[in-house]
């Protein structure tokens, strides 16, 4: 069994209104010095088998085909 974590983030230059709103809320709570917030997504995926190299390739394909929209998002795959 392979456990993987996929992190999807907005590409640089893509406006993130939700991140901006969160940044504003942090400021309202008195957290000063917050230079920026970007909101992303985390997927924890469990795969059968123990072929880590093959798993990384399959997980990347999952990102390309569904988990990330590569028009606006980047992704990274980490296998535990």
């Amino acid at each position: 069994m392979i456990k993987a974590r996929i992190v999807v983030t907005l590409k640089n230059g893509v406006l993130d209104p939700q991140g901006k709103a969160i940044e504003g809320a942090l400021s309202n709570l008195g957290f000063s010095g917050v230079g920026g917030v970007r909101q992303g997504k985390v997927f924890d995926v469990v795969l059968d088998g123990d072929d880590k190299a093959g798993a990384k390739e399959r997980l990347s394909q999952m990102c390309e085909k569904l988990l990330a929209n590569t028009v606006i998002e980047n992704y990274s795959v980490e296998i535990a």
């Binding site: 893509v14 406006l15 209104p17 939700q18 085909k65 569904l66 988990l67 929209n69 028009v71």
Partner: protein, 227 residues
């Protein structure tokens, strides 16, 4: 004349679309459920608006990978006209039938009101009923209508005259880049737009400005009015 409306769980503008198509063509459209792998013969396939699959993951992301959307892509590849409205536009982008992506409105608010649209290209098969730069009224109702494309893609779609509708000056409700409200595919047979032309097709709606989209693509448009 045959029209087809795609049905997916979570859509809620399908009935409006069916009513509009019935009123315009005089014949009820056929409906096709998400699990279908083939479409009946159609002069127009419509992916209506709503919140397919609860907008999980990203708006339209799950719907775009449903079996019926593979059938829609095959029909589009054969040249069948395909119209995506609101969530339908998001689905067509997620399915790769149209470039770009629809992001959260910059205001972070759900906007439900009427906007003015400028017909940026009256030569597409969806806009022959309109005059170039004609300004029409159209309702919008969405949370994620902020069209975005990277600089290269944007240059291409602008250069190829594929922006069909723009929010008229001062009415951009969502922060969409270049005020883009609707675009067509490179082949010109797939149109996606955020506003709802199906909600302005009968005098009882308060106007018929949206009717031209359907009349154009179905070949029912009267001779073009002078600009």
């Amino acid at each position: 004349m045959n029209t087809v409306v795609v049905l997916l769980p979570g859509l809620n503008r399908d009935r409006d679309m069916i009513a509009a198509l019935t009123a315009i063509t005089g014949k009820a459209p056929k409906t096709v459920w998400q699990t279908e792998t083939a479409l009946p013969p159609a002069d127009l396939v419509v992916v209506p608006g709503g919140f397919s699959f609860g907008d999980y993951l990203r708006c339209g992301a799950i719907a775009a990978r449903s079996p019926v959307m593979r059938a829609v892509a095959e029909a589009a590849a054969k040249g069948v006209p395909v119209l995506g409205v609101c969530n339908g536009f998001q689905i067509l982008c997620e399915a790769g039938l149209l470039p770009g992506a629809l992001m959260r409105n910059t205001s972070l608010r759900f906007v439900c009101r009427e906007v003015k649209l400028s017909v940026a290209n009256a030569a597409t098969r969806f806009t022959t009923a309109y005059a170039e730069n004609q300004v029409i009224r159209c309702p919008v109702a969405h949370h994620d209508g902020n069209f975005f494309a990277d600089a290269e893609t944007l240059k291409r779609i602008e250069g190829e005259n594929r922006v069909v509708f723009r929010y008229a000056e001062g009415t951009n409700p969502n922060g969409a880049i270049n005020d883009i409200a609707g675009i067509v595919s490179a082949e010109g047979n797939v149109l996606g737009l955020m506003p709802h032309p199906e909600n302005l097709v009968e005098p009882e709606h308060g106007g018929t400005d949206g009717r031209g989209v359907f009349e154009s693509v179905l070949g029912l448009a009267p001779a073009k009015a002078a600009a």
